[in-house]
């Protein structure tokens, strides 16, 4: 038994070490934005996908590029445009000449077949193309014609979208949004970070990020994450938190009943606990706590609630809804005051 506990401690220590290494590599180029980097890495290690939202120029694409450079894995970037078709990202059958001079149909893989996929400005693609990502993000496979292609492990989609230029865009459908583990809202950097950003970006020295981990190691770290146990009280809290976002449920506060049209699905509870497991490991614990669930609640749940017309007219944001749910649900450990 003791040996097993030692194994767990070693696995957790390795996880923390790798996490810190990747983060330090990314920080060679990225300045500040700790929460965004933590969120992206948490999603990568938990086996989820990330939707980065922010105005242009905040380093969303650079963050994904730095992350891909810190990990020795295949990386592809897809710049989504309105005229892009599903075959452009999934791949298609093309007629090619073989060695014997004849012709044969071969499957040409699209850019989706990679470990890390940067889906830049994903909301500029048509729903037809966006839906081509559904199977890839959930099942980790691509089906073209009669052929189903397993995507390489690890597979992680890091998508970006711009919240201000909404003209000519196609907002992501709920089914697509639900497949993202996190939605991270990238904000402006702090004042003290501007000097470092300018020094690193307009100088004549190129920052080279060397990889610290291979793709196979990411898979091992994901297994470590999955092994972290979830106590009953933390699971109960996550369930109640998800139910609190559903209008009409027993835990939904009046604010949510009034302003929310659609709450989080059970996939939200899965995402909560997966992300909470990563948080527990990062903080050197071996089990999930209620605080871990609380910390990841906002990026996990904010894109899974649909605000109704009254909420939009009253300028209620998704963050307000998640805050209301957090305030309404009491942790099982707490005694009512």
């Amino acid at each position: 038994m003791s040996t097993s506990a030692t194994d767990a401690r070693e696995a957790a220590a390795r996880f923390c070490r790798v996490y810190a290494d990747i983060k330090s590599r990314v920080h060679q180029m990225m300045v500040g934005q700790d929460e965004i980097i933590d969120g992206a890495m948490t999603a990568l290690l938990a086996g989820g996908h990330v939707l980065l939202e922010g105005v242009p120029g905040l380093g969303k694409t650079m963050l994904v590029r730095c992350l891909s450079q810190a990990i020795d894995a295949s990386f592809s970037r897809i710049q989504f445009t309105p005229d892009m078709m599903p075959a452009d990202i999934q791949g298609t059958w093309v007629l090619m000449e073989n060695e014997r001079g004849g012709h044969e149909l071969r499957f040409q893989e699209g850019p989706l077949v990679a470990n890390l996929v940067l889906a830049d400005e994903i909301n500029r693609a048509t729903p037809k193309t966006q839906s081509a990502l559904l199977e890839a993000m959930q099942e980790k496979q691509v089906t073209v014609g009669r052929r189903t292609l397993k995507l390489p492990e690890p597979f992680c989609v890091l998508a970006t979208q711009n919240p201000v230029e909404q003209e000519g865009t196609y907002p992501l459908p709920e089914a697509q949004l639900d497949r993202f583990l996190f939605k991270l809202v990238v904000g402006y950097p702090k004042e003290e970070d501007y000097a470092a950003i300018l020094d690193r970006t307009i100088g004549d020295t190129d920052v080279v990020i060397t990889p610290v981990i291979h793709a196979a190691d990411i898979v091992a770290l994901r297994h470590t994450v999955r092994a972290v146990p979830v106590p009953d009280h933390a699971r109960q809290y996550a369930i109640r938190l998800v139910m609190a976002t559903q209008p009409g449920s027993a835990y939904a506060p009046p604010r949510i009943n009034e302003y929310v049209a659609l709450g989080s699905s059970p996939r939200g509870a899965q995402s909560l606990l997966l992300a909470a497991k990563v948080r527990a490991l990062i903080e050197g614990r071996y089990a999930v706590s209620v605080d871990d669930v609380r910390r990841v609640a906002l990026p996990v749940l904010r894109h899974r609630v649909l605000i109704n017309f009254h909420g939009q007219s009253d300028r209620i944001t998704d963050a307000d809804i998640v805050d209301a749910a957090l305030a309404a649900v009491r942790a099982p450990l707490e005694v009512a005051s």
């Binding site: 038994m1 506990a5 767990a8 009280h233 450990l333 005694v335 005051s337």
Partner: protein
């Protein structure tokens, strides 16, 4: 981790849980007590209200006020809150629940250990069923924190302040007011005094009601029943009473009016009914008591017979020289009286009184009176109330509409009807700026079953060169004259040309 270690850890966690349970239970009891006190005083008026009700029943039953000791009243004041507090505490105790998880969680929250103790306790309880490396690591991780928890004491949690809610404060004030009112009534209606008062009251007014008796005891004279007059005539009647030359006490005059035996009252009622057709809704016809005339038709048989006719008084009794009488065209009314007559009545009146010499005499008297008074009166005709144009429903009977001011047309209620009432007067701003509502779109779906249309397979084959015209060409049918025209055209002989060639064949 060995089994001994597991048992040891569970024992230590048990100790911590019991310790926390005692601590939290005490805090919960204190919290419930304070909450109960905060809410219990809402029921403070119950005791004084019940006592007041009991006292009222006693007084109405002729028993007099209660004479309780002071501590009984104090007990009544606190009876409601005490009972409510007891019920609240019982209910709170039943609803109170404290789990082992919450007890250990108190240590976790105070130590900031991120649920390590609770997690370890849970994993230890389930150690027989499922144990993984991370389970054991979590238990071992909690061991050091259990040591820290054993060396600390749980901090006292904040209790709600001793305070009264706003409702409870109001209820307490109401309870005190009720209590003081009860005490006051009880002191005024002590049983010894009440006996004598009751005897006097029985002697003086045998048929008095308990309410009037109670009012007498309280030192108030019983209110005389109101004379049945329209509300608008009350000020004039009061002034007329004040200007009576005799010094009759006011109470007697009021009593006389109340009995309805006064001539003026009787006349006024009878006139108003008789003039309903000609001067409907004219309040001035009814407001001045009239003096009976000889040739007045006897409309009220009892009223004139009971009271002697009053001498005519032209100086101050002018309002009493009735306009109601003048409505019959036989009055000696002055210009002041006529000014009180509605305009709609005046043409008729003028026509009816054209040959009446008494009116002329009255006018002469008035002119003389004005001269003797040395001052010229303003024309009171200008101050006459305008015509009542109020279209709202009138009250039943002959009484004028008390709300009728005679101004303008329909009132506010009337104006709220019709088309203007249907127009939304309050503009509702568009709260979403920059977004226009696209309107509702109606989608109609029809279920249609697809029909299968079998098609023969077409086999590709080599196409031979064309031998015949493709398809059928239908020639138009020509009429006989058309056919002959065409025949002539093609069969005619060519005219000879100079060149010897050319022409159509």
């Amino acid at each position: 981790m060995s089994v001994m270690d597991s048992a040891g850890l569970r024992g230590r966690l048990n100790t911590l849980a019991h310790q926390a349970q005692r601590h939290i239970s005490g805090w919960q009891r204190a919290r419930d007590l304070r909450r109960g006190v905060r809410r219990a005083f809402v029921w403070a008026p119950v005791g004084p209200a019940l006592a007041g009700g009991y006292q009222l029943v006693r007084v109405l039953g002729g028993g007099g006020g209660v004479s309780w000791a002071w501590w009984v009243w104090a007990l009544l004041l606190v009876a409601g809150p005490v009972v409510a507090l007891a019920l609240w505490l019982v209910r709170a105790a039943r609803q109170r629940s404290l789990t082992r998880r919450q007890c250990l969680g108190a240590f976790d929250l105070q130590l900031g250990t991120h649920d390590r103790l609770v997690t370890a306790d849970e994993f230890l309880a389930a150690a027989d069923h499922s144990t993984s490396a991370f389970h054991l690591a979590a238990i071992e991780d909690a061991a050091s924190h259990i040591d820290a928890a054993e060396q600390m004491t749980l901090a006292a949690r904040a209790l709600p302040a001793w305070s009264l809610s706003r409702r409870a404060g109001l209820a307490l004030v109401a309870a005190l007011v009720l209590l003081l009112a009860n005490l006051w009534v009880a002191t005024r209606l002590a049983p010894t005094d009440a006996t004598a008062t009751l005897a006097d009251a029985a002697l003086s007014q045998s048929a008095a009601s308990p309410v009037s008796l109670l009012q007498q005891w309280l030192g108030r004279a019983p209110a005389a029943p109101r004379p049945q007059r329209p509300p608008s005539t009350m000020p004039e009647a009061a002034s007329a009473t004040d200007t009576q030359p005799d010094s009759t006490p006011r109470t007697n005059q009021t009593a006389q009016d109340a009995e309805g035996g006064s001539q003026s009252g009787g006349q006024s009622r009878s006139r108003s009914t008789s003039q309903a057709m000609s001067s409907a809704g004219s309040p001035s016809n009814q407001q001045n008591p009239s003096q009976p005339l000889e040739d007045d038709p006897p409309q009220d048989q009892q009223a004139p017979s009971k009271t002697p006719p009053k001498p005519p008084d032209n100086r101050k009794g002018e309002p009493q020289s009735s306009s109601a009488t003048s409505g019959q065209g036989q009055s000696r009314s002055s210009s002041v009286d006529r000014s009180a007559i509605p305009a709609v009545d005046q043409p008729d009146r003028a026509g009816a009184n054209k040959d009446d010499g008494k009116d002329e005499e009255g006018e002469e008297d008035e002119v003389e009176e004005e001269k003797t008074s040395g001052a010229e009166r303003p024309s009171l005709r200008r101050n006459k109330p305008p015509v009542d144009r109020n279209l709202s429903p009138r009250p039943a009977g002959d009484e004028p509409n008390p709300n009728a001011n005679g101004r303008s047309g329909p009132g506010g209620r009337k104006k709220t009807r019709g088309v203007p009432a249907m127009i939304l007067g309050v503009p509702t701003p568009d709260r979403i700026q920059g977004m226009t509502h696209p309107g509702r779109s109606k989608v109609t779906q029809e279920n249609a079953t697809p029909r299968e249309e079998p098609q023969a397979a077409v086999n590709a084959e080599a196409r031979p060169p064309r031998q015949s015209p493709v398809g059928h060409i239908e020639h138009p049918r020509l009429l006989p004259w058309m056919q002959s025209l065409v025949e002539k055209y093609f069969t005619r002989e060519k005219p000879p040309t100079a060149a010897g060639s050319g022409g159509r064949e």
